[in-house]
Each structure stands twice: as C-alpha cells, then as structure tokens.
Amino acid sequence: MADAARGGDDWLVNEPVAPELAQEQISAEIAAAHAGPGGVRVEPSGPALDFAPYRSSLLRFPTKDLRQADPEGAELLAPVFGEHDVDPLEADLTIQAGGEPLGERILVAGRVLDGDGRPVRDQLVEIWQANASGRYIHQRDQHPAPIDPNFTGVGRCLTDADGNYSFTTIKPGPYPWRNHRNAWRPAHIHFSLFGTDFTQRLVTQMYFPGDPLFGLDPIFQSISDPAARERLIATYEHDLSQHEWLLGYRWDIVLTGSHATPLEDEDHA
C-alpha cells in the first residue's frame, strides 16, 4: 500500500513504449519461439524466462545455467500464516470499499495442491486484479479507463483443511499495455501462493475461458506447451454460480513437489 500511495512520483515508468512494433511481428516471434529449441526455464512446464516477444524480459532473465541445489534448512519450510494475519472479509473484494463495485460479480474457487496431489492446508493465497474496466488502482496504471471507487482489486484468504480457497470478486477487464502497438492483456487475476516448502513458492495469473486475446499475448504464450497454458485457465462451473447473485469459476493450482519424506508428512498431519 505504501508504495502505491506515493502520489506524483514519475519514477515508475510504464512498460517500454514501442508504437511502431506491430502485433504481426510479435505473433511471428511467438510462433518462432514455440517452434524453436528450449528456452531458459525454472521448471520444465513453466514459462521461458528468455521470451523475447515480452520485451521487458530481455534484460531480466538469467543467461547462465540455473544450479541444482538440495534444499536444506529454511528452504524446507514455507512460512505459515494464521487467523491473526488474515481477516476472512479480505476474501470478498466486493465489500471492501463501502459500496457495490461495478461489473460482473463472480466467485473464483479451487484447491491448492502440492506436486503429489496433497492439499496445502491453512496457507496464504493473495490476489490482485484490474477492475471491470481493465484499470488497476496502482499509481503506475495510466490506462484511461474509469477507476471504480468501490473496488481496490486486492484480496487474501487462507486455504481450509482440504486446501480449498474461495474469493468473491468482479470479473476483471482486459487492458492495454505498451509491449507493442495495440497490445492487450487477456483478462486475468494475479495469484500469489505458498506451499509447505519454501521452494514451492509461486506467483502466476489465472485467465478466463475463451478469451480472444490468448493467442496474441506474449506473457501467456511464454509457456510453449499448450496443455500447460490450459492449466492457467479457469473453468466456468455452474454449480458454483449462485441464483440471482454471481457466476462461478473453478481453478485448481498445483505447486511443485514437496521435499518432505512421507514419514515427516505424517508427523505434521
């Protein structure tokens, strides 16, 4: 909050402006990258860190090989969070600012699992997103779409004993950015996740089914495996929708493998 409140700062430059760079060029680069070899990845099914169509990545990916390490000490234990840390009301983004936000009210729910399919219990989930018009509260967002005074777009919750999380929010709008000319991000919600090990930390983005911008977006397309990209897309689930109230989406999240042995896991259960 503190950083966003630094009104008037101009040090936060937006994404590089490339007004001459056409979507056709970016789309051709995406296709070439998908057809080409490898890419620098933390995980085999993760995004390529060296994904040139996302221009901001060019000076920010490691060119030297990542090193394999055996986790030890603090790496074996994620931080834990409790009832003091998170108010249950933080899971409802539609009641935070005093009035009803504009837009399509939705529920986003799912489970957080570790790489072996075990639920991640009582763990922190953080989200942030644009409003229904595609505008963030962030000082740095200069998109000339309306701010909604009744929507901050920030939420938190703790998973339950089965790893379930649930947020009530507004469906975010797509928004333009300055990667290239006429660049638009598909509608998405940013998610921040923890596992039981420090090494399972994950920040990602959840998308909505059928978005026409998927094929054009270099951030989404930085994941070259189509099946892996699909795992970032929520599914509409009618049983989660509520009569005359909201539409329901399900999105399950699978973290990397825990390094705990089965015996240790039982001790902690």
Binding site: S45, G46, L59, K64, Q68, A130, H138, T204, V254, G257
Partner: protein
C-alpha cells in the same frame, strides 16, 4: 500425479497488493541487523520494480514455523518481503541466521520482477562462517560464483549482497529436485 500450474510474471502492478506495513521488518529496526542490496538488470541498471522475499532461521539456527508474518505482534517468523525502491534497493531488518544442523547459515531468497516471467530462487550466505567450506552448493561453484552468493559484512554489522538478474556478474539462481 496432478499436472503443475505454470508461473507468470508478477507484472508491474503488484505494489498495492503484496507490500504491507512491516513486511521487511522481521525484527524492529535497530534491534538486529540490516540485510540489503541492489537488484540490477543485464544492462547494469537498477530494477525498481522487483520484489524480494527471504526465509531464514533465527540466531540459534531454528527455522520458526509460527504464524504472524503479516501482523507480526513482535513474533519472529523468519519470513519477510520487500519491494525494491526507485534505486533498486531492497532491505530487511532481521537477525543473522544461525547454522541449521551444522550447515552454513544462509537466507533463502525468492526474486520476482516485472519482466521476469517466473520467480527465481537463490541464497545469501552469512560471511566468515566456518561451515562455508563444507557447503555442498558452494563447493560445486567456482570462486567467482561462490563470492556472488556470500554477503559482505559492513562495519555496523549489516549484511550486503547485490542481486544481478543477468550479465557477467549474474547471481547464482537455483532449482530444486521438486521443480523437476
């Protein structure tokens, strides 16, 4: 086994969501040490929109598994978060971690940034510790890379290590068996 969810960049708009009051103060400022450094990109420019998280043992080498990192109430949780400032600097007010099970003490570190499509993991080792010579990761590296993982101690006891996302001085970034 379920299939893994891929990561995506933290993007440019996390500042109003992830930072919170006291996020970088694992202990009250002035009561412990300062851990700090600057995050650089491949052109040597500071990165003013990165987010650094650390996880660590306490001074006795015990990794706390206690809630309270968001609302600290004076509890040492061994976890903190810091967005870099306009000159790319991160800092934490914390204690120097002790050796866990006799290993070389280090801060476990996660790096997020606009332009960085997935999170990166690294370590910041405490300098001048006898266990550094037995550390398996350090032993697998050449002298230059080893030096890039070990903090420098300032006259006031602070620990300093810059992080380089790319370039000749690139930091040593890690993957773990669970990432395979």
């Amino acid at each position: 086994m379920p299939e893994r969810t891929p990561g995506q960049t933290v993007g440019p708009f996390f500042h109003y969501a992830l930072p919170y009051d006291g996020d970088r103060e694992l202990v009250a400022p002035g009561t412990g040490i300062r851990l700090h450094g600057i995050v650089y990109d491949g052109a040597g420019s500071p990165v003013p929109d990165a987010l650094i998280e650390i996880r660590q043992a306490d001074a006795a080498g015990v990794v706390p598994v206690v809630p309270g990192s968001l609302v600290r109430n004076g509890v040492f949780t061994g976890w903190g978060r810091c967005a870099t400032d306009r000159v790319g600097e991160y800092w934490f007010s914390t204690v120097e971690p002790g050796a866990v099970d006799g290993g070389a003490p280090f801060f476990a570190v996660t790096v997020f940034a606009r332009g960085l499509l997935d999170r990166l993991f690294t370590r910041i080792y405490v300098p001048d510790h006898p266990a550094l010579t037995n550390d398996r990761l350090l032993a697998s590296l050449d002298a230059d890379d080893r030096a890039r993982l070990i903090a420098t101690r300032g006259a006031d006891g602070s620990l300093q290590l810059d992080l380089h996302l790319q370039g000749d001085n690139q930091s040593v970034f890690l993957t773990y068996p669970g990432h395979k």
